[in-house]
């Protein structure tokens, strides 16, 4: 037995692996590292194409960076120095010119634009892509509908470089809806080759391949592990990005994502829990960026169809019993905009979201409970376990507080997979929930959450004729630019929502990002994913 030799070789092996660990980069590797971004997040994509069946949020990020749209939002610098998309400014991406007529809009395409396989981008591709978005069903079709883009006949390829959209009706959201992720431009000739009878739009192919003209293309994708992007040097959609390569790793453990950032091994950690964010900010080793999520709020939602919350007084009592400040401090570590403690429930501005007139006032809550005649109440408070980090402490705090005004609650944790179907049933009496809309307009939020169409997000099942009149009025006024009528209606529906309180707004959360100090150019986007194109690594 050559035991001694064996032991020696094992020691040598162990020593060599130990040294291997910290980055000892050869010059070539160091160079590539400088041009490569290492991004870490909790989840990765399940599909690279937003048109696919059930594409998850990380999948939207792949679509955003690999496909171009005709137009995109401009950028602006916020008061705290961070960058954000500009809701009201549009800049050309694949189009070089946009001409809005009375009942149509016409685009001229950039002649230099090419797909990543070298074929030029033509109006035929644009029409095919728009046809695809309104035909595949599911989320993309619904999103197109939000901008009144509903049928193929609306989209006309006038000639190779000219594309026209005919409006079915005047809608202020049509142009903004062209700049969201869904109406990306796909390489129609390439995808037609991959199409089958069962899959006429080539969804199988785009699930794991990118077929666009965008700034990046996916060169490798291992689901649940990593996505590797490379830059498209022939990109015509804007200024050529600085990063040649982006590696996006899925790291499920938030503690390890934090360790990776603090050791300097990862460049950006995206969408951090509020707790990590506030602690890392205090340490001050990294660049910490935080933006309020536009058109989004956490609220406590009460089912108005069934007792006990069909009683308006009970709902108002609950609204006065919520320990708002405690929630913001203890559950969100102070990283949230309060949506309580405003002057009155009759709002004076069209800002959205804005504070309600409610604040924690147990005496008032008890008085309202007595007035309501509801007696003792025993009910459940539900939340989405997939968002347990935020929702669980909120639910516990509310449970404790409601106990003091005679409402006994049991906490019902709903697994992430079941949350949507539970919401669709509309049988949960009380729930902690989050909603945000891509298009940052109050009437868009109300259309989903308060209108008589009773969409899945109208979890309280709140249907009210006056409310619908306000919402429809605001939408119609916005379409034709009647500012005064619009303002009256928006103030009208917000005030009504705050008086009737089917949902009790609590706070507007933030999107939190940590980056190394040498990273700049990160911008907040309505879609809440990372845009690699503007990021610079010094």
């Amino acid at each position: 037995m050559k035991r001694r030799e064996f032991l020696q070789s094992m020691t040598a092996l162990a020593a060599s692996t130990a040294v291997a660990a910290p980055a000892v980069w050869s010059p070539a590797k160091a160079q590539s590292r400088k041009e490569t971004l290492l991004l870490v997040t909790e989840n990765g994509p399940n599909n690279l194409d937003i048109h696919g069946v059930g594409t998850n949020r990380p999948g939207y990020e792949a679509s955003w960076n690999c496909y171009d749209r005709l137009i995109t939002n401009g950028k602006k610098t916020l008061a705290d120095g961070s960058l954000s998309y500009d809701r009201d400014k549009f800049v050309p991406e694949l189009a070089e010119d946009m001409n809005i007529g009375d009942m149509s809009v016409t685009f001229k395409l950039k002649k230099s634009a090419k797909f990543q396989d070298g074929t030029p981008v033509t109006a035929k591709d644009v029409k095919w892509s728009y046809d695809r978005a309104v035909s595949v069903g599911g989320f993309p079709t619904v999103q197109m509908k939000a901008g009144s883009l509903v049928k193929k006949e609306q989209f006309v390829a006038v000639d190779d470089n000219t594309f026209r959209i005919d409006f079915v009706k005047k809608d202020r959201l049509t142009i903004p809806d062209l700049a969201v992720i869904v109406p990306g431009i796909y390489n129609s000739e390439l995808l037609k080759k991959h199409a089958t009878d069962k899959d006429p739009w080539g969804l199988e192919y785009t699930k794991s391949n990118t077929a666009g003209s965008g700034a990046y293309k996916v060169t490798s994708w291992k689901p649940g592990v990593e996505v590797v992007y490379e830059r498209n040097d022939a990109w015509a959609g804007g200024k050529l990005p600085e990063l040649k390569k982006v590696i996006w790793r899925t790291i499920p453990s938030s503690g390890n994502r934090r360790a990776l950032m603090e050791r300097g091994d990862a460049d950006i950690s995206f969408d951090l829990p509020a707790k990590d964010f506030s602690e890392m900010k205090k340490e001050g080793k990294l660049k910490m960026i935080s933006n309020p999520i536009g058109n989004g709020m956490y609220s406590l939602e009460l089912n108005v169809v069934h007792p006990p919350f069909d009683n308006e007084k009970v709902r108002q009592a609950v609204a006065y019993a919520i320990p708002y400040q405690k929630i913001v401090d203890a559950a969100m570590f102070g990283i949230a905009n309060p949506l309580f403690g405003g002057k009155s429930n009759d709002v004076a501005s069209i800002l959205w979201p804005q504070p309600t007139g409610y604040m924690t006032d147990m005496a008032k809550a008890k008085a309202l409970m007595a007035e309501s005649g509801a007696g003792a109440i025993d009910t459940t408070i539900s939340f989405d376990l997939g968002d347990g980090v935020n929702s669980e402490p909120i639910a516990v705090l509310i449970q404790e507080s409601l106990g003091q005004i005679g409402i006994k609650t049991t906490i019902n944790k709903v697994p992430g997979a079941n949350w949507r179907s539970e919401m669709a049933k509309k049988s949960m009496p009380m729930m902690v929930n989050f909603f945000s809309g891509w298009l940052d307009y109050p009437e868009y939020f109300f259309f989903w959450c308060y209108s008589g169409q009773n969409a899945i997000f109208n979890t309280p099942s709140y249907v009210n004729k006056d409310m619908d009149t306000f919402i429809d009025g605001a939408r119609a006024a916005a379409a034709v630019g009647e500012k005064d009528k619009y303002a009256t209606d928006v103030k009208g529906f917000i005030s009504k929502a705050y008086h009737d309180v089917p949902r009790i707004p609590m706070f507007q959360p933030f999107l939190n990002v940590a980056a190394q100090k040498n990273i700049s150019g990160y911008s907040y986007w309505f879609h809440r994913q990372v845009d690699y194109r503007s990021i610079v690594k010094a």
Binding site: A20, G54, G138, N256, A259, P415, A417, A424
Partner: protein, 337 residues
């Protein structure tokens, strides 16, 4: 030998049929509606119905089952909705990752547990016996995610000896070409020592975590079965005949004590393979356990069925292997048809 093997394999068939039926029914009984989940944030009843139809979930259960069995017969385990890939591809790429980690963990554990168990039995009641007890108890009572995070904190975060816990390879290293799916073997087979080193250094901490956890059953089983054998007549005879201590313990006693140890090993291995989800989560390891759990959380039927089926087949194969090992270790045990 071949005939007995054949007979054993025939008895496996009803087990597998049972597994297929039970997994199919179980996934259907689970609460949660995949169509609603995958319809995404702005779903309408129409879009949910579209998705339900495209997934074939609007058909009656017997028809869905017939389609599932038909697909299975063609080697098609279906498509995962959550990763968008065929389940068979996912499992073949993830199983080696789990197996490599589990095997290394088990080897590490064996290297410590066997000598410790034997020593504890030989020197019963001594300090080494107590050490054995403490180590085993500590290993099994520390939850794996805790051991894992602790190791990461000390060896990566504080000391910087270990590479970043981001999966099987560093983000800037390239994976070896797929031959066996085991990075260590593949990189050696292609002569790529840099990748071998990178893969090995990524493996150490998670393997150690698993090893610490599996120390307890192996050490305790080794100790217990050694104690029983050491007290038996043939050992006393051997000692009386003047054989030296080493021969008595290693050649005679240990070989006879190995049967229960091997059984435990098989159980620990198959348990670790499927159940090391937490270790996989902590080290971002692209293994089969976390794949199945994620699929389950999203009501993604196909991977769950594929996972249970694969594990059942593995378990059956492993049991067969262990049964045959019995015969090799102890000639008195032979497979009975």
């Amino acid at each position: 030998m071949l005939a007995t093997l054949g007979k054993r394999l025939v008895t496996v068939i009803p087990t597998l049929i049972g597994v297929v039926i039970v997994t199919f029914l179980l996934t259907r009984v689970l609460p949660g509606d995949p169509a609603v989940y995958f319809a995404g944030p702005a779903a309408t009843p129409q879009s949910i119905a579209d998705i339900r139809k495209s997934l074939g979930l609007d058909r009656p259960l017997p028809e869905q089952f017939a389609r599932y069995v038909n697909d299975l017969a063609h080697g098609n385990l279906g498509n995962s909705l959550s990763t968008g890939r065929p389940v068979a591809t996912e499992i073949t790429s993830r199983l080696p990752a789990s197996a490599e980690l589990t095997l290394l963990g088990l080897i590490l554990s064996l290297v410590i547990a066997l000598p410790l168990g034997i020593l504890a039995a030989v020197k019963q009641g001594s300090w080494i016996d107590h050490t054995c007890r403490v180590v085993a108890t500590a290993g099994v009572s520390l939850p794996v995610f805790f051991t894992g995070l602790l190791l990461v904190y000390v060896f990566y975060f504080q000391l910087g000896w270990s590479p970043a816990p981001i999966g099987r390879l560093d983000a800037f290293a390239t994976a070896p070409p797929q031959i066996t799916g085991f990075y260590l073997f593949d990189s050696l087979l292609t002569g790529n020592f840099e990748t071998f080193r990178a893969a090995f250094s990524q493996l150490i901490l998670p393997a150690l975590t698993l090893g610490i956890f599996s120390l307890a059953p192996i050490t305790r089983m080794t100790r217990a079965s050694m104690l029983a054998v050491l007290a038996s007549d043939f050992v006393r005879t051997a000692r009386a005949s003047g054989l030296d201590n080493r021969t008595v313990i290693l050649t005679y006693a240990f070989r006879n004590a190995m049967l229960p140890v091997v059984t435990t090993l098989g159980m620990v291995f198959s348990f670790l393979l499927g159940a090391n989800v937490l270790v996989e989560k902590v080290f971002a390891w692209p293994g089969i356990g976390s794949y199945a759990v994620e699929a389950l959380l999203q009501s993604d039927f196909a991977p769950v069925q594929g996972f249970v089926l694969t594990m059942a087949v593995l378990y059956v194969a492993l049991n067969l292997l262990i049964d045959m090992l019995y015969g090799v270790i102890d000639p008195r045990v032979r497979l009975e048809g």
